[in-house]
């Protein structure tokens, strides 16, 4: 009866593995899935200086149509965003998971100045377009397709988290003397009553085009 006992051993093994896997899946599935947050190493270096890859000359203004961040698998269309009544940047409709927006009254990505792109980290159903933004690292590439047919390529300088209370408006939205880009989503911890406590902000500057 060797054959039968071998069969029993296999079944016993499968049972044990299934038991462990099931328990693990149920346990980790019930945990919360907070979006990744940047580490201190991704913040602006204290020594100052722009560092990183050298910038390239600015492009003429042209509205952007699409943003790609290969390192975190982002490839999303862009819609124009205005300001809310309180003066904060409006956001894309939450219903569409893979949609980001750009601040239409501001600088176009590639032009000299600070262009602003924003998108949701999640919506009621689950993760959205910029869920993994907090996992982005320095020197990663961000590509923006522009309506004039060119592609503006930016390199990440820093990934920061700011609380909503003391949001550094000037640092995030202020004018720049070279073509820069900010990519913004929610982050910085979550509370049931007030939602996400702040924003993850990616700082990048233009390093190429094609």
């Amino acid at each position: 009866m060797r054959k039968r006992s071998f069969g029993n051993t296999v079944i016993a093994g499968v049972t044990v593995v299934a038991l462990c896997t099931g328990a693990w899946l149920l346990r980790s599935g019930a945990e919360t899935h907070a979006p990744p947050q940047p580490s201190a190493a991704q913040a602006h270096s204290r020594t100052g200086g722009t560092g990183g890859r050298a910038g390239v000359p600015a492009l003429p203004p042209s509205p952007p149509d699409r943003v790609r961040i290969p390192a975190i698998g982002v490839d999303a269309p862009l819609m124009g965003l205005a300001l809310t009544r309180s003066g904060s940047l409006d956001v894309p409709p939450a219903g569409r998971k893979n949609l980001a927006g750009w601040y239409e009254a501001g600088t176009t990505p590639g032009e000299t100045g600070t262009a602003i792109v924003a998108g949701h980290v999640d919506n009621a159903e689950g993760p959205a377009v910029f869920y993994d933004l907090g996992a982005l690292r320095k020197d990663s590439a961000i590509e923006v397709d522009r309506r004039d047919g060119s592609v503006a390529v930016f390199t990440v300088d820093a990934v920061e988290v700011y609380g909503a209370k003391d949001f550094p408006d000037e640092k995030v939205y202020g004018a720049a003397s070279r073509p820069e880009l900010r990519v913004i989503t929610c982050g910085g911890g979550y509370s049931r009553s007030t939602g996400y406590r702040g924003n993850v902000v990616v700082f990048a500057h233009l390093t190429g085009n094609r």
Partner: protein, 172 residues
Amino acid sequence: MRPTARLLTGSALVVAAGLVCAPAYAGDSDGLEIFPSSAVPGGQVTVNTAACGDGGTAQGDASAVGADSFTLAPSTHEGDAIGQFRVPSSAQPGTYEIAATCAEGGRRVTGDLVVTLTSQRQPVHPRGSVKTGVGGALGPDPVQTAAGVAALAVAAAGGTWLLHRRARGDGI
């Protein structure tokens, strides 16, 4: 040679426009969209329209502001034809009508371009944080939970089978 040259220019524009991907707002107007709507002399202006249908081209006319005619080539975005021109450095401040005429059907669409001597695009910066999440990603993962239940069901079936064999004295 003229038509050939034009054809070649046209193809180059098509290739260039092929890189443009779909914007989110699918042709929200049938007019001529002009960006920026306010430009300085010497500035470059991008126009697009959905009026010429899928893959339609158009002839752009910016002669009102003294610019050369230009071509609007189809882009990958649903039916939007896109073209560019440069505002002559001699252009005077004012509002000018920019037009585009579809190659097929001859439909004409227009939009207004404002020329100013100093750049009026001094944007108001947004203020404060951005509301880009509701916490929907934070709940339990239903897929993982379902997989866990399925794995436990397999374990239960295996256990039952083994107990059954043992009860029958099949040796384990």
